[in-house]
Assembly symmetry: none
Homo-oligomer: 253 residues x 2
């Protein structure tokens, strides 16, 4: 990433986007944990984990923001690099934890049988972790060939997860109460759509989309995708849990 092409306006805009990400994620955690007792006990673990995902993300947005600030020096309205590298890898550390957990949120809120919960959790969570691990060597590689190779490898678990969400969960979704079937389908679709952003952005440097404008698009885009995939998704999981609790007569709200 060539940070020398970043203008002062772009620097500030990206800094604001990271701060916005931090605030949204932290607020989502507080909301989810404070509202946890509103859902029936059977769904509380899904809400606990939803709040964990956004809390982990809030921590990483703080780290990303501090790393961004450390990479630049601003004086008299001019910006220069300090030489301290902007640590893009915080995103991978975050995803390694949060991506498996947010698939587990979705499985938990469906309240499948214990064996199905465990097997789907292990397979989807494992595939998600593998996807992130395989993406990382490509992200930090200097040459286009390595970047592309690991993109292809990472896409294998990615496609497996998308297939499971679109086709594999169909049977389980059909068995959900009617008042939440649409919402659960919506949550699965939200994951698939928000996730499409990541492999596309990963390819940007390969197609020559670099420089200040590209960096701004990527960092702001990642932040929006993360907010949709974690905070908006978490609120959706909470809504599903609340509706199911009401339908089962266990709602407290």
């Amino acid at each position: 990433m060539d940070l020398s092409t970043i203008s002062l306006g772009q620097y500030t805009f990206i800094q604001n986007a990271f701060s916005f990400g931090l605030a949204v994620m932290a607020a989502a955690s507080l909301f989810l944990w404070l509202s946890r007792s509103n859902v029936a006990p059977a769904y509380r673990m899904a809400i606990t984990i939803s709040g964990l995902v956004t809390a982990i993300a809030a921590y990483h947005y703080l780290q990303i923001m501090l790393s961004w600030e450390a990479a630049f020096s601003v004086t008299n309205n001019s910006i220069s690099e300090t030489g301290y590298p902007f640590n893009q890898a915080y995103r991978y550390v975050d995803w390694l934890l949060t991506v498996p957990l947010l698939l587990i949120e979705l499985i938990l809120v469906m309240r499948l049988s214990r064996s199905e919960t465990v097997s789907k959790g292990v397979w989807l969570g494992g595939a998600a972790a593998l996807m992130i691990i395989l993406g990382y060597p490509g992200e930090v590689a200097e040459d286009a060939g390595t970047r592309f190779t690991f993109w292809v490898l990472s896409m294998i678990p990615f496609i497996y997860i998308v297939y499971q969400l679109v086709v594999g969960l169909k049977g389980s979704i059909a068995k959900q109460p009617e008042n939440v079937r649409g919402l659960i389908n919506g949550a699965a679709t939200l994951v698939v759509i928000s996730w499409l952003f990541y492999p596309i952005v990963f390819l940007f440097p390969l197609i020559g989309f670099t420089g200040g404008g590209a960096i701004t698009a990527v960092e702001v885009g990642y932040t929006i995708a993360d907010i949709v995939a974690k905070a908006v998704f978490g609120i959706l999981i909470f809504t599903i849990a609340l509706r199911k609790s009401e339908a089962e007569g266990g709602a407290q709200a």
Copy 2:
């Protein structure tokens, strides 16, 4: 914003105002969350969100205060600029989150039907977000024409929201229990009056009201308006929730 006109006395006064804002907002969050169980379960989400609004504002007052301190260097009782820009945009990042949420507080405490809650939440919350997004390009613009153009654009959703609060909610307010009708009207009026401050201040640079005195008036004025619109408003929402809980026999206090 020409920071070179700020005197040491003004610098300290504004810094104290930001610290005051942070303390009030954080205290309001703690009060609201600690008192949440005093109201009936149906009103707890309104209180949770009221506390979130002030918590998000507390975080942004911390960021604003740190940015203010980074913009100045004080030695031997003389003040100079460091060249690091004071990040005024944190206010917009804050408003983008908190302004939709505080309209949602008001809707939630009214306990309308689910469809009415969703539709009013989406329309008022969406208009509020649009208002903030349209204000931002004007705030960061260098020339008066752009500032004025975005002021006009931002006033369209602003007027829509004011109209909804003054006229659109009339029917729903009339259906509220008599013991809280005055309070809910008061909360809507509080929003309208405290919000009038923002578009007026936005025009200050256009009418030549700049320099240290103007910056002090704007920053202290924003802080007071934020405290009224978020912390005082939140306490009002809590009072409404408490009265309604008592009337419905669900109060715990």
